[in-house]
Symmetry: C2
Subunit: 522 residues, 2 copies
Amino acid sequence: MIFPVLCLFLAARFSKIQNKSSTAKYGHKLWPMPQLISSSTDRYPLSPRQFIFQYASGSSAKSGCSVIDSAFKRYFPLIFKTEKHMYRTFSMQPMLNVYASIHLSFPFSVVDKLSVSSGQASLRAKTVWGALRGNKTIHIRHVRYKYFVNKTEIDDFPRFKFRGLLLDTSRHYLPLPAILKTLDAMSYNKFNVFHWHIVDDPSFPYQSSTFPGLSSKGAFHPSTHVYSQTDVSRVISHARLRGIRVLPEFDSPGHTQSWGKGQPGLLTSCYKGSVPSGTFGPVNPAMSSSYQFISRLFKEVASVFPDPYIHLGGDEVDFTCWKSNPEVRGFMQKMGFGTDYTKLESYYMENIINLTKTLNKTSIVWQDVFDNHEKIPEETVLHIWKGSPAQIQQELSDITLAGYRVILSAPWYINHIAYGQDWTTYYNVQPLNFTGSEQQKSLVIGGEVCMWGEYVDATNLSPRLWPRASAAAERLWSDEKTTSSVTDAFPRLTDFRCRLLRRGIQAEPLFVGHCRHEYEGI
Amino acid sequence: MIFPVLCLFLAARFSKIQNKSSTAKYGHKLWPMPQLISSSTDRYPLSPRQFIFQYASGSSAKSGCSVIDSAFKRYFPLIFKTEKHMYRTFSMQPMLNVYASIHLSFPFSVVDKLSVSSGQASLRAKTVWGALRGNKTIHIRHVRYKYFVNKTEIDDFPRFKFRGLLLDTSRHYLPLPAILKTLDAMSYNKFNVFHWHIVDDPSFPYQSSTFPGLSSKGAFHPSTHVYSQTDVSRVISHARLRGIRVLPEFDSPGHTQSWGKGQPGLLTSCYKGSVPSGTFGPVNPAMSSSYQFISRLFKEVASVFPDPYIHLGGDEVDFTCWKSNPEVRGFMQKMGFGTDYTKLESYYMENIINLTKTLNKTSIVWQDVFDNHEKIPEETVLHIWKGSPAQIQQELSDITLAGYRVILSAPWYINHIAYGQDWTTYYNVQPLNFTGSEQQKSLVIGGEVCMWGEYVDATNLSPRLWPRASAAAERLWSDEKTTSSVTDAFPRLTDFRCRLLRRGIQAEPLFVGHCRHEYEGI
């Protein structure tokens, strides 16, 4: 997943057309908003029959670079698909002498640049991923079955490095097509991390090759409600081609009820008085076998998921069961933890963070691990998921003051639906609005939209995600100063939602109205 | 739409199987709950290869009765579709000597009966519509690729006559397939009235043959975002075959902004001081041309929609524009209304209720018409849409005390989404919980779920409707005493939701879990 830094240069030649209509003032409708954009009413015609993407000679990326090759293939029909009868029109009326090509060349630019001007369109990017996202920014309009591109200069880069979206495939199983479709929509929104909350209490759909019992006993169904190794690599490769990392989460020691079914002895046996009650609590932190199991499982996970990070969870550990278990109590005494079970939790988390480190992976954990513990390896990333606005600001201050990197999710629990235009709430989040130094602010590496699965499966996932998640996407990509107004954002987001629909994403409406193409069905 | 009362008798012979499994206690999972049901663990096998529906000799309905004929065709695959490879299984392993047939015969029964007992299944119904709904109540289970039906006695009838669902096709256009699919789902829920709020302020998609300008100028798009006469009759016939009436609403004098585009002079011109401001208000009640227009439009509507009722709206009339218009003020003076604009509103509504009467149609109006007016023709039906629980109870008391029939919608504004299991709110509505005599209670003819379209189009309609609307469906069909517990309803509704999914309805989940068949996709 690590690519050498390179430069991508896209050049297209156009015959310039002076815009003759005085009313056709061009307002761009890009989402998320680029960092810098200037465009004019001058526009250039494009013909799908003569439009080609090409690498330039001298480019460090060449034909064979799968990410760019497949982006060329994918974006051509996205740009030119709006009218099915278009091609017939064009084959009868060949367009002006226009062509476009992509050149990849040195030297590096500091930021990604997209420029469409007299006779030429060029895209310059430091990395393949920048080129990919620049590709998505080309905004081509169609008027009466002809395509145009306006004279435009764009300098663009993301505000935050980590722009994530979480799907929960444990509370409901999400069929593979629903995940792949979400990745498509993520890429249109410039999200770059798919946080796969793959297992939890209700079910364990990850089909482990080391421990096949985990899914055969812990999934809703052992053969239909599972993600095979093939499924997982399909998700990873689909994501990669769209510039998206796949961050797996195996949340423990809590949220592991489904793990226990296929791995007897892993969970703590809860006691009622002096006898086991037959129910189970979190992973048993007193048994060395628990760590051996996690170690073997994570060894597999580390090799299946190429991302350098693993999300270890660590949230909402209920101590009741641990307290009831005589073995655990004995271990507390032996370790000198007294009756402070946060020390036991801390001991467990430290152990699994360290074993994750031995696999050359960095840990991400939910904020509870910071809230409850003294010692956390310094490279660990904390993930904020709860609290009032004031508490969230305090948490951001505290975590960054302690020198940890942080990801913000608490204001973006998008599963919490409400009547009306609740996207404005997600849009108005200001991730850096907390007390802290510049150094502290730089430790906020990004944010993540969470779609927890209590009430969500493939029947309602897409319209519940889009375009509500798009509000967060812009907040994470764009300059806060140029995107501070909900009123300004509304028509752009309305337009973007229609673009999502045209691209096959079942995005719900923001308000009364219609998309030009919605009658084609969705 | 009026059919002679008849009796339907369904008989099926089965070889009885004594249930050998002591753990297989049979809990029925019907939704909505029948009025009376008793079932046992005795069960009978069914073979799709040998199962047939037939009319009995002597039945008043015979082959050629489109409603029953098409129900036979529709329900066979619904009953036997759960496993696609089933038929192969059966062709290799022919089932026991089992057949089923439907007999339609006299005499009439007072209630609809469905009985599955030793060697025979019979369905007895007073009307074709009862037969249709009885057909939907047959509950056939499948265990390991074999079908069974349990020994069961059902006496069933609806608690309320009017069990409606409103779709709003003005705020967003709903493509025809979305409407037809909703009708399918309505029939599975035993809803029997499709309230088509077809036009409103934002758009006028009804393609009138008398006034083609209304849609060519007032629809979102004159050729794609419209309902042609063919579309409308397709909706009506699709609904009819599923036992559903289509109640059209042409709401006036307010909510008519889109009407004005194709019918200049219809709406009141609003004034700023002594000059027209360029904006328009409700229909102009001072012009006789307004009533001539409504008369001609409703004449067409009355012939296009066979239902004996038309919904005239009459809600939320804003008097500001009327007050500003000198012509309207002059008319007020001439009529002796003083400055009481509710009298003008009343005058308008009385006029259009009376002209609806001349078309042999009965009017349904929103509660505002009762709240604001003194004289309403006694056969008019009032429709409650607003207020706190206490206000709704008061309105029910007042309207029924005045002797009017009433439909309840206020607690079932299902477009108002909330996080979590809000279906319980819809389930807990008690429509007859108000102060009034038995005579008054009998005037509550039913209720209606409203899905207003501000935030809803074809992208999110189905998962937002189902199974949330199913909660109201049971309240409107079943005995309140046997359906008072949300806890008891939950597993039945969960199961019903899976059945909706299997039948192709994109119904969202109630909570964590899975349907056995969901992995087939939806």
